[in-house]
């Protein structure tokens, strides 16, 4: 109950944030721009529209998660409203979960709006609704949930600027960690290789949520992978939230 109240308030607060609308405006601009970009290509224009569209949803969704998520807790501390909140019978864990769920709800609505614009543009070109696209968008949303948790984690102990940089770093690592596999193959067996293998497993693999290529090229996606990726997202998000709770529990506001 307390969690839903905090989540509802966080959502209301996020709705008033101008950054959200600015990012949505840019995302819609990029989605429309994909139409003109497609004119420059030789061959399949729809492919370009789908690529730019999905990339825009992913990129601007990530920016929304980071820019809003990193300020969630910090703002409360900075404006001293945290004292009023925590003086009430609200547990810090509930406070964090409420904040997280509120922002996830915001991100969900914004992703839905971007998806609607995207599908409309696609429909105007193909006169068909490609429902498979929604699968790629759904997994983008799972990735954004994880990014929201990451932004929230950094928000619990540092300033929004630093938290944004750390979150961006996490995002980049998440999308590049797959290439560590190549590095591991090149490193001779030993402590270095073992360390790399551990890093490879522990570092986030955001490519698990990337089904853009498969959807655009209409390739089959193994159901098992979809299931594992979903679980991976849930568990990793839970891990980050637990870490945030652990940090936030020890935080002294005086």
């Amino acid at each position: 109950m307390k969690i839903t109240t905090i989540a509802r308030n966080t959502f209301k607060e996020a709705k008033r944030d101008r950054v959200l609308y600015l990012l949505f405006f840019f995302a819609a601009g990029c989605l429309l721009f994909s139409r003109f970009l497609a004119l420059l290509t030789v061959g399949d224009r729809i492919k370009i529209i789908k690529d730019v569209g999905l990339a825009s949803i992913s990129l601007f969704g990530m920016l929304m998660a980071i820019l809003m998520g990193t300020g969630l807790v910090y703002k409360e501390i900075d404006k001293k409203t945290i004292f009023t909140l925590l003086a009430k019978p609200i547990h810090r864990v509930e406070f964090l979960l409420g904040k997280f769920l509120g922002l996830v709800l915001t991100i969900f609505i914004m992703t839905g709006l971007m998806a609607a614009v995207f599908l409309l543009i696609l429909f105007l070109h193909t006169f068909t609704v490609e429902w498979k696209i929604l699968l790629a968008i759904l997994y983008i949303f799972f990735e954004l949930c994880l990014m929201t948790a990451v932004a929230l984690l950094f928000s619990t102990f540092t300033t929004p600027i630093l938290a944004s940089l750390y979150s961006l770093g996490f995002y980049l690592i998440g999308h590049l960690s797959w290439s560590m596999e190549m590095l591991i193959k090149k490193v001779k067996s030993g402590a270095g290789r073992a360390a790399l293998q551990v890093l490879y497993i522990v570092l986030p693999d955001l490519e698990n949520f990337n089904f853009k290529t498969e959807v655009v090229h209409n390739l089959p996606i193994p159901a098992k992978l979809l299931g594992i990726s979903f679980l991976y997202g849930v568990v990793y998000t839970a891990f980050i939230l637990l870490l945030a709770m652990l940090v936030f529990r020890r935080r002294d506001f005086i």
Binding site: I201, I221, R249
Partner: protein, 286 residues
């Protein structure tokens, strides 16, 4: 310890326990997801890369760094034997690198090597090296490498042209001139081959270079002489219905003023049974 503290400690332990549990679980899930094979579009990552000219604007001043990244990636990509048609976009990739960092020498050289030895397409190798020369007109290595590739392909006309280009660039090593002279000989331009080997002989600082040049001069002269003598022997046979008994017979019947000698001053060897004329010594065994 108060009951409140106990509760807090219990909560902390629970969070730590859950943390470790989730860490193990997502690590296991990561390994599971790696085991599921995903369909890929071969080369999809490069097909839609825009040309280097446009990409340069998107690099925000880091064009050199982006060139490095694409080059590093290209090396890995072309080493992947699982993509059978990976060479389809070879020119595209290396032209992107060339546009992003025109002075980066390695990609031209490596790209050409991949084209000729992996893709088996020497024309593509020439294109990549031509690109390198166009962007770096002072680098003799590009036409030199192209000449070498053409020589390996036994295309001496192309090799000669590239060696000529390399020779004209200041700083080219002396071996380029020798390779050009050799290519001229192989394209049967004996006059040019003679002039070039003569120049090499006269300008050589080291004895071993002089020796090489002399051997080649011997070869050029003996090829010219034996070809001419063989033609005259055939003319003699047409006229008299038999082969001449020796080469002096060509002088006696007025077909030749004087029997030429090889560069060492020795007579050419003539076989009256077959009409074959050959030099007294094998040029490279001298």
């Amino acid at each position: 310890m108060s009951s409140g503290e106990k509760l807090l400690r219990r909560q902390r332990n629970l969070i730590i326990f859950l943390l470790i549990g989730s860490l193990l679980l997502f690590s296991w899930l990561k390994l599971q997801s790696d085991r599921v094979a995903r369909k890929k579009v071969p080369g999809s990552s490069i097909i839609y890369l825009p040309s280097g000219k446009y990409l340069k604007h998107l690099t925000f001043g880091y064009s050199s760094l982006v060139a490095d990244i694409i080059y590093l990636w290209a090396i890995q990509y072309y080493g992947n034997y699982a993509i059978p048609d990976r060479f389809k976009y070879l020119e595209h990739i290396f032209s992107i690198i060339s546009e992003l960092d025109p002075k980066y020498v390695d990609p031209y050289e490596v790209g050409a090597l991949i084209a000729v030895y992996e893709a088996g397409d020497p024309n593509l190798a020439y294109k990549i090296l031509d690109m390198g020369l166009e962007k770096n007109p002072d680098m003799w290595i590009f036409p030199f490498q192209a000449g070498h590739i053409a020589q390996m392909q036994k295309d001496f006309e192309v090799a000669r042209e590239y060696y000529r280009k390399a020779m004209e660039i200041p700083g080219a090593p002396p071996i380029v001139k020798r390779l050009y002279a050799h290519a001229a000989y192989r394209t049967m331009d004996y006059q040019e081959a003679w002039e070039m080997w003569k120049e090499v002989y006269e300008t050589a600082q080291e004895d071993w270079v002089k020796e090489i040049a002399y051997n080649h001069l011997y070869r050029v002269k003996s090829t010219v002489d034996t070809t001419a003598l063989t033609a005259l022997v055939n003319k003699f046979r047409e006229k008299y219905g038999r082969l001449p008994s020796d080469l002096k017979a060509l002088v006696r019947v007025g077909l030749l003023k004087e029997v030429p000698k090889d560069l060492d001053g020795k007579d050419y060897v003539y076989d009256p049974k077959t009409g074959e004329v050959k030099p007294a010594r094998v040029w490279w065994k001298r």
